[in-house]
C-alpha cells in the first residue's frame, strides 16, 4: 500500500512551472505533516529507529530532529554522542562520499521556498521501500534537493519524484523527469530539441537556480547581478562572518578569565528557550517573507550589536556591513588584531 502511494505520488509531480504559491502551500503542508508525524511517532521510537536504520538514512538532521523528540539528548550527548547512535550512523557514513550533503542545509534555509520539481534521493536509497514517514521527512529535508542534484550535473543520480497535491502538468513546461540514469528534459514549445541545446538549457537552469539560492542566503545579493558581483558579495559575507567570529571569541576570552564561559550557567535549555522566544516574536514578520528568513533574522540582530548607535535597521544588504563596522567601533576592550 505504501509502495502504491509512493508510485502514485511520483507520477503526479512533474512540472516545474508550479506557481510559487502552490509550492509554498505544498511545502507548508509537508512541514505540518512532518510535525504530526514526528509527534505521532514519538511513541514509536524503536520502530522509527528501525525504519531509519533500515533505510540507511543519510540525514543526520532528520535523525537529530527525531531523536530530540525522544529526549535522548542531554548530558549524555557529549563525547559519547556518536557512540550512542552507532548503528544508524554506520548507515550514514556509508554514503558519506556522496556530494549531496551540502543540500541538507539548503533545506535549513529554504524549506518554505524554492521551486521543487522532484525529490532527489541518494543512489543507495531504495525508493520502493520508503515508508510514509520517511518520505515525508525526506521531503522536508530534501525538498529542494532535486534541483541540487540536477545542478550537480550528475545524471547518474537515481531520483524519484515527490508528490504534490497542487501540482499540475503542463505540456508546455519544461520538466526534468529523472529516472535511473537519464535526465529527460521536455522542450518548451518553439525551442530546439537537439541534444546540445537541451543540455545547455538544463545547465543554464541549474545555474540560475543556484543564483537564486545565493540570493536567499547572502543578504544583499538581490541588487547585484552577474557572477563577479555575486562572488564579491559572497566573499564579503564570508569574510565578515569570520571576522565576527574572531571578534566574538576575543570578547569572550576577555570577559571570561577562565575558559568556563558562562555557558554552564546559561543552560542549554535556556538557550533553546531564548531562541524560541526570539523566533516566536519574529514569526509575524517571517511569515510574510518566507523566502528570506535569514534576511529577517540578520537585520533584526542589529540592535544587539549596536547598542550605542542609533542606526536604523536598513536593507539587509547594508546590515551586516554596518554590523561589522560597529563591531570594530564599539570594541572598547582594547585589543588589537
Amino acid at each position: 500500500m505504501l509502495e502504491g502511494l509512493v508510485s502514485q505520488e511520483s507520477l503526479s509531480l512533474n512540472s516545474m512551472d508550479m506557481s510559487v504559491l502552490e509550492r509554498l502551500k505544498w511545502v507548508h503542508q509537508q512541514q505540518q505533516q512532518l510535525q504530526q508525524v514526528v509527534s505521532h511517532s514519538s511513541n514509536n521510537s524503536p520502530e522509527l529507529l528501525q525504519i531509519l536504520q533500515f533505510h540507511g538514512s543519510n540525514n543526520d538532521e532528520l535523525l537529530e530532529s527525531s531523536f530530540s523528540q525522544f529526549q535522548m539528548l542531554g548530558s549524555g550527548f557529549g563525547p559519547n554522542y556518536n557512540m550512542g547512535f552507532g548503528p544508524p550512523h554506520e548507515c550514514i557514513s556509508r554514503t558519506s562520499s556522496c556530494h549531496m550533503e551540502p543540500v541538507d542545509t539548503m533545506e535549513v534555509l529554504l524549506k518554505t521556498g524554492e521551486e521543487t520539481r522532484a525529490i532527489a534521493l541518494k543512489n543507495k536509497r531504495k525508493p520502493e521501500v520508503k515508508t510514509r514517514e520517511e518520505q515525508k521527512t525526506e521531503k522536508k529535508i530534501k525538498v529542494e534537493a532535486e534541483t541540487e542534484s540536477s545542478m550537480k550535473g550528475k545524471s547518474n543520480m537515481g531520483n524519484t519524484e515527490a508528490s504534490s497535491d497542487t501540482s499540475k502538468e503542463t505540456s508546455k513546461g519544461a520538466s526534468e523527469n529523472q529516472k535511473l540514469d537519464y535526465i529527460h528534459v521536455r522542450a518548451r514549445r518553439g525551442q530546439a530539441t537537439d541534444r546540445h541545446s537541451l543540455a545547455e538549457r538544463a545547465r543554464r537552469e541549474k545555474i540560475s537556480k543556484k543564483m537564486k539560492y545565493l540570493q536567499d542566503i547572502v543578504p544583499g545579493c538581490n541588487k547585484v547581478t552577474g557572477k563577479a558581483g555575486m562572488l564579491d558579495e559572497i566573499i564579503n559575507y564570508v569574510q565578515c562572518l569570520q571576522r565576527q567570529v574572531e571578534f566574538l571569541s576575543m570578547k569572550l576570552a576577555v570577559l571570561n578569565p577562565e575558559l568556563e564561559l558562562a555557558v554552564e550557567d546559561v543552560s542549554v535549555k535556556q538557550f533553546q528557550a531564548y531562541f524560541a522566544n526570539v523566533v516566536a516574536s519574529k514569526q509575524s514578520i517571517m511569515v510574510d517573507v518566507p523566502l528570506f528568513p535569514l534576511d529577517q533574522q540578520g537585520s533584526l540582530d542589529l540592535s544587539a550589536i549596536n547598542p550605542n548607535q542609533t542606526t536604523s535597521i536598513e536593507a539587509p544588504s547594508a546590515s551586516w556591513e554596518t554590523q561589522s563596522q560597529s563591531l570594530y567601533n564599539t570594541s572598547s576592550l582594547g585589543f588589537h588584531y
Partner: protein
C-alpha cells in the same frame, strides 16, 4: 526557522563539549590571546562537528584545527565520525587584498577558495559555491550563538540584549 534553531542548538552542545575538553587539556593561566585562540578553536571544531554530513569544509576545518594545535588526539576524539582524509592537504589561509571591480571571476573564485576551509581542494566551481553556502549557514549559527553567550551577564546569568523586546 525551526531548523536553523536546530543548527544552533547542535552547535551549542558541541561547543560546550569542546570547551570542556579544551579546558581540561591545556594549562592555566593563559593570556588573552591564547584564550581567544582556544575559544576560536573550540568554536570552529564545534561548527564542523555540528555539520554532521560529509562536507568538504567541515572536514578541512577539523584537519586545519588539528594541525594548529598540539591536541590532535583531542580533536579526533571530539569528532569521531569525521575522517581526516584531507589532513595533509589543507594549507593555511591566504589573505589577499581587496579586489577592484575589474578583476574577473576566476580570481574571485580563487580568493573564495582561500576563505572557505577546504576550498582549495574543490575544482568544480558549482560545488565550491554550494560548499560556501553551507559553510555560511554554519558560520552564521556560530556568530549568533557566540554573540548570545557574550551577552550573558556573568553575575546574574541572565541574557542581556535588546532583541527580546522588538
Amino acid at each position: 526557522m525551526n531548523t536553523y534553531n536546530m543548527v544552533k542548538q547542535r552547535f551549542i552542545k558541541k561547543w560546550i563539549n569542546t570547551l570542556h575538553m579544551l579546558d581540561s587539556s591545556i594549562e592555566h593561566p593563559l593570556n588573552v590571546t591564547e584564550r581567544k585562540n582556544a575559544i576560536r578553536l573550540s568554536s570552529d571544531l564545534a561548527i564542523a562537528a555540528a555539520r554532521s554530513g560529509s562536507t568538504v569544509w567541515s572536514r578541512a576545518l577539523i584537519s586545519r584545527s588539528g594541525n594548529k594545535t598540539t591536541n590532535k588526539p583531542m580533536a579526533r576524539r571530539i569528532l569521531k565520525k569525521a575522517r581526516n582524509r584531507m589532513k595533509n592537504r589543507c594549507r593555511t589561509l591566504r589573505r589577499n587584498g581587496n579586489f577592484t571591480a575589474k578583476v574577473g571571476v576566476r580570481k574571485r573564485t580563487e580568493f573564495l577558495k582561500s576563505l572557505v576551509p577546504g576550498g582549495e581542494l574543490i575544482d568544480d566551481k558549482d560545488y565550491l559555491i554550494r560548499e560556501t553556502l553551507d559553510y555560511i549557514v554554519y558560520l552564521r549559527a556560530q556568530v549568533d550563538v557566540m554573540r548570545t553567550v557574550a551577552a550573558v551577564d556573568l553575575v546574574t546569568g541572565n541574557v542581556t540584549n535588546d532583541r527580546r523586546n522588538k
